[in-house]
């Protein structure tokens, strides 16, 4: 079980949490040398309200595809944070958007709070890339995938016109996370 | 009957294995050539046949045809 590294991206529908999960899985399994399984909340949940994507990363085969003990969780809304934080394991990380999540849950895990959406708005003028900033932050915080792998994964998923924007967003994510460590 | 060209009679063939006896051919024949013999259509008055083919056209059972 210790080989599994579990990440949960959560927020509201439309914030790109599922895309973040897919990119993380690709960074690990396609552009990295690990195995990964990605799953997500599906159906009405994914059309607004709280939504989540989960990625399990491991060096070996991954049997159970759902999160069991979460190593790192991202919460981009208060609702998602409240609803989904219960599976974070002892010593795990909870990264929250500080402007969205005012009531931080208590538990045996480390809480990191940062204005992710605000940073996207102020430094890049586009809140749409908040998910890519968060992806950079998680890559940096967890070290489960390399910067190089996650960058390749991001760039393979975005349209050519937005390559620079997403590259910058990812870089911002790496840098801001270093400050939080 | 003489074999003169003007008076050449048609040949009406009733397939007795296929005729189901609905009498559509008899009923619709405009010149009363046909009759029912029991439950099978039969030729009664060949000389009256005008070769209109209506018996064939309306036979549901592929059971009657008129040859020149």
């Amino acid at each position: 079980m210790s080989e599994r590294y579990e990440i949960r991206f959560s927020g509201s529908g439309g914030q790109g949490m599922i895309l973040a999960g897919i990119i993380m899985a690709e960074a690990a399994a396609i552009y990295g040398d690990k195995n990964a399984v990605q799953s997500q909340s599906y159906g009405p949940e994914s059309r607004g309200g709280a939504s989540k994507a989960e990625v399990i990363i491991s060096h070996g085969p991954i049997d159970y595809p759902k999160a069991t003990a979460i190593d790192c969780m991202l919460a981009m809304t208060q609702e998602a944070c409240t609803k989904y934080h219960g599976d974070i394991k002892s010593g795990g990380i909870l990264l929250v958007d500080s402007e969205e999540v005012k009531t931080v849950p208590k538990g045996d895990f480390k809480v990191l709070s940062f204005p992710i959406i605000g940073t996207a708005r102020e430094e890049l003028g586009k809140t749409i890339v908040a998910n890519i900033i968060s992806l950079g932050m998680i890559a940096e915080l967890t070290g489960v995938v390399t910067h190089e792998a996650v960058e390749k994964a991001v760039l393979s998923r975005v349209p050519p016109a937005f390559l620079d924007l997403n590259k910058k967003a990812l870089q911002i994510g790496f840098e801001k996370a270093k400050m939080l460590k | 009957m003489t074999e003169s060209a003007a008076k050449k009679l048609p040949r009406i063939v009733v397939n007795e294995k296929l005729c189901k006896g609905c009498s559509i051919c008899v009923d619709f024949c405009p010149t009363d050539v046909l009759e029912m013999k029991g439950s099978i259509a039969a030729v009664k008055n060949l000389a009256a046949c005008t070769r209109c083919q209506l018996c064939d056209l309306r036979c549901p059972d592929f059971a009657i045809q008129v040859f020149d």
Partner: protein, 287 residues
């Protein structure tokens, strides 16, 4: 008894050789004495012959019911499917092999009740099928229940007090659903029917021919007809009027009569042709 004017002009000099298209030793067919389906089948074979279609290239598809036994008798690629499902099976064959001529023979219950949804959507797609609806206003195979085309007040084994459901007009529905060739014929007007089916076969797109024919066994007996002949006279001859003649008739002469002939014919893009264009575009885009 008089021959109708239209038929008199169409004098046939030699008998048609149906054996060219019939499978050997399959007759007699299962249809009851006086059933119009055999008359319709013969008109269809003459129309196919006139259209010069190759036997190998014809798929004849049916559903379930009396009319749907037609494919068993004829020497084409023949498919007797499930109740109501002839059209989607036919759609699959046509789409997979657009070069084939796909003809559907179906009854009014098969096409319009259990298969009604398939019918309207096949019309909507304008896929190149020729659909012959053998309309005898009854479910003959199951013993004479009322069908979607049974007239109001008619008797059937499930309308013993007279039918309280209004019937469909098959042609109106086909036209409204998007079929590009819609016609009606009867087993009585057999040469006209042959011509109508021939025109349907040569039309590109969804062609529907509603064919009124008689079920003497169930509809006939339940509704006090004495014979198949009487049904043909009253329902098929007196109950219909050719659309061209109708143009010159006053409304009172048309009351209660169904129109015969080609009722709707337009040219519109056909489904398989559109799909073929799609394939050409996408296959070349890949290169």
């Amino acid at each position: 008894m008089s021959i109708p004017v239209a038929e008199k002009k169409e004098k046939v000099s030699v008998p048609f050789d149906y054996n060219k298209y019939l499978r050997p030793n399959k007759l007699p067919h299962i249809w009851c004495p006086g059933c119009g389906h055999g008359i319709v089948l013969k008109a269809m074979l003459r129309a196919i012959d006139k259209a010069g279609l190759e036997k190998d290239n014809i798929a004849l598809v049916s559903g379930i019911g009396c009319s749907s036994r037609t494919p068993g008798y004829v020497d084409f690629n023949t498919l007797h499917t499930l109740h109501g499902r002839a059209l989607p099976f036919a759609t699959g064959i046509k789409l997979a092999k657009p070069e084939m001529k796909v003809i559907v023979v179906t009854g009014d219950g098969d096409a319009l009740a259990i298969g009604g949804n398939h019918f309207i959507h096949a019309c909507r797609r304008n896929i190149d099928l020729t659909v012959l609806v053998f309309t005898n206003a009854t479910y003959g195979m199951t013993g004479g229940q009322y069908s979607p085309t049974t007239p109001l007040e008619a008797m059937a084994t499930t309308s013993r007090y007279g039918n309280i459901e209004p019937p469909f007009d098959t042609c109106e529905m086909a036209k409204a659903s998007g079929a590009t060739f819609v016609a009606r014929g009867t087993a009585y007007h057999t040469i006209e029917l042959e011509k109508t089916i021939h025109e349907a076969l040569t039309h590109k797109g969804m062609s529907v021919v509603d064919i009124i024919d008689a079920c003497p066994t169930y509809f006939g007996r339940a509704n006090k007809f004495k014979s198949a002949t009487q049904m043909m006279e009253e329902i098929e001859k007196d109950g219909t009027v050719n659309v061209k003649q109708a143009a010159n008739l006053p409304p009172e002469k048309l009351a209660g009569k169904m129109l015969r002939g080609v009722l709707h014919k337009v040219e519109k893009p056909e489904y398989c042709e559109k799909y073929d264009i799609l394939i050409k575009e996408k296959a070349s885009a890949k290169k």
